[in-house]
Amino acid sequence: MNETLLISILAASITAGTPILFAALGELITERSGVTNLGVDGMMLVGAATGFMASVTFHSPWLGVGVALLAGGIMALIHAYLTITLRANQVVSGLALALFGSGLSSYLGKNYVGMRPEQTFEKLAVPYLSNIPIIGPVIFKQDALVYLSYGLVVFVAFYLYKTRAGLFLRALGENPAAVDAVGVNVFGLRYLYVIIGGALAGLGGAYLSLAYAPCWLENMTAGRGWIAVALVIFALWDPWRALVGSYLFGGIDALGFHLQVLGIPVSIFILNMMPYIFTIVVLIFVLIRRGGRLAAPQSLGLPYDREER
């Protein structure tokens, strides 16, 4: 394999992994606070559709990003209300969100299918850094949202492990009653983190429709939201591992495309299966290595009920 091809595959891995990375970081934050939200795919789709619509209407991709964040957050608010306030089953509510989001995005985006936006996120080379051999063109010749995702990983890791607020976030998922006892508002904080998680899923969707594709198609996530949910599990709820995992997925995506370009006779359908097979295989691999025990937040999936404290 020659160097240009290697660089182009690696760079494409990062681009293809970025939507999953945003969504996975969002889900990671949500799950750390003790709430599972399986509606990631639906929130991504709504983010992708609304972000694209706003970007086309107002001729500003950045405004599109803002709208996608907002739309994802609103979607997550439904889940937060149902699961935190009404203590509904988180699995079912998340599934409802996934379905609702898929329908809603198709409904809203109907007239935008196949449209080309005038402005998208272009690749920007970082001065000096992009001249480093191999690493430079792979990591530092990306679009603005990719740079944003790098920063976000650093920020989430720092917030989670080094700040007081991050300590509370982790405690929320482990032992909400203890957090309540210190006088911190468990319900309010869980709302906050579920909404942030949704906003990031929306951002992941917007990355697909504004930078990766860039266009809007019905169900364009092709299950990436679900992959993000799986990724959080095998990243063991750690942002750095989520970063690595996302790029691995991106890599499989990119590799398939490049194999086709090289004319290697592999069925496109078999190639498209790879991310899904890979998800299951990696999950099994991680579980075997950890003896079936994952360091999942202890109270993950359990609604907090003061009456039962």
């Binding site: 149902l82 509904a88 599934l95 379905l99 998800t279």
Partner: protein, 358 residues
């Protein structure tokens, strides 16, 4: 008079039936507001859907055609849900069932009807069942979350069918369309006269009845319920959880596989991409709305078939058929959200009694 809200100790049957019905009505009202806000006349939307699905012989026939796979997959996922096994993989199991049934017609095209149909049913059930069992095996062997594995296997199953119909199974006389050859007449389920409704509807009623009897009357049915509601108690009672998980996943997948077989044999008459417009996902809502009760599943499947067929009619109003998916998602929101209402009850206490208590 005082009104007091308190936790009810035992589930109250009336509230368990009334609350979901009100939740469904509330979701329709909510979506009506949404349609109005986005510039559609909600009354026109609903009446288009309703008359499209139930206003003609053709519409009613189509509604039953959609009800059959929804009910069969709904029964399938309900088997797993009873044990709190989240089999989200009905869609993939449906495709695998359809695929295996097609294999029978392609390999033994000359079988007579009375051998062909049973062979297709068995292979369909086996393929769907094994697809579900695989996820169950990952779970008992390595504790792989079945939500993730079944979901990923949906995509794999669908792509597998694509792989076959675009490749080895493509009909050489099909002008390069991704279709298998049309099934021989012996592989087709009979229809009611010239309508598209087919005898697959009997599968629904028979299987719903078997489901009801097994889970109501048999020891195994009771065991699954115990595992679902309290796995620790089940363990101490000596119930083998592992083998029950495997069995439930197999049966769950087998029912969805039969749904796939019935669809290709009753409606499509060949294998092609996109034979299911998401029946497997909608079935999850159907099962949940019906509170996993087999007879209620058939009823709710009919309601959702109405929405589904109605959704197609919305295209005449320039709306995407995915609007139906949105409606169904909203219904599930209202139903899960209102669940808490069934856990509490409102008591009216006369003031004298109230004083005594305080």
């Amino acid at each position: 008079m005082k009104i007091k809200v308190q936790k009810s100790l035992a589930p109250n049957l009336t509230s368990q039936i009334l609350v979901p019905i009100f939740a469904v009505l509330a979701s329709l009202f909510f979506c009506a507001i949404f349609f109005a806000l986005t510039g559609k006349d909600p009354i026109e939307v609903y009446s288009t859907m309703f008359s499209g699905a139930l206003g003609s012989e053709y519409g009613i026939s189509e509604t039953f055609v959609k009800m059959i796979p929804l009910a069969l997959c709904g029964l399938g996922v309900a088997v797993a849900f009873r044990m709190h096994l989240w089999n989200i993989g009905a869609e993939g199991q449906f495709y695998m069932g359809a695929c295996a049934a097609t294999w029978v017609t392609l390999s033994f095209p000359t079988l007579p009807f009375f051998l062909m149909i049973p062979a297709m049913i068995i292979m369909g059930a086996l393929a769907g069942g094994l697809w579900g069992l695989l996820a169950g095996w990952f779970k008992v062997k390595w504790q792989v979350d079945e939500i993730i594995s079944t979901l990923m296997m949906n995509y794999i199953g669908i792509l597998w069918v694509d792989f076959l119909v675009y490749g080895a199974w493509r009909d050489p006389e099909g002008k390069n369309f991704p279709l298998t050859a049309a099934f021989p007449a012996a592989a087709m389920l009979p229809t009611f006269g010239s309508l598209r409704v087919h005898y697959g509807i009997f599968f629904v009623f028979i299987l719903a009845l078997i489901f009801w009897v097994v889970f109501k009357k048999s020891k195994w049915g009771y065991e699954t319920l115990v595992i679902g509601s309290n796995p620790i108690a089940a363990k101490y009672a000596g119930i083998n959880i592992r083998s029950n998980v495997l069995l439930a996943m197999f049966i769950s997948g087998a029912l969805c596989g039969i749904a796939g077989m019935v669809e290709v044999s009753g409606v499509v008459g060949k294998l092609q991409p996109g034979i299911s417009p998401g029946y497997g996902y909608t079935a999850i809502i159907v099962a949940w709305l019906a509170r996993l009760h087999p007879l209620a599943i058939v009823g709710v499947a009919f309601l959702f078939a109405v929405i589904h067929v109605g959704g197609f009619m919305l295209q005449t109003m320039g709306m995407p058929s995915a609007t139906a998916t949105m409606l169904q998602g909203a219904m599930l929101f209202f139903v899960v959200g209102s669940d808490i209402l069934t856990k509490y009850e409102i008591k009216f206490i006369s003031s004298k009694e109230g004083e005594k208590n305080e």
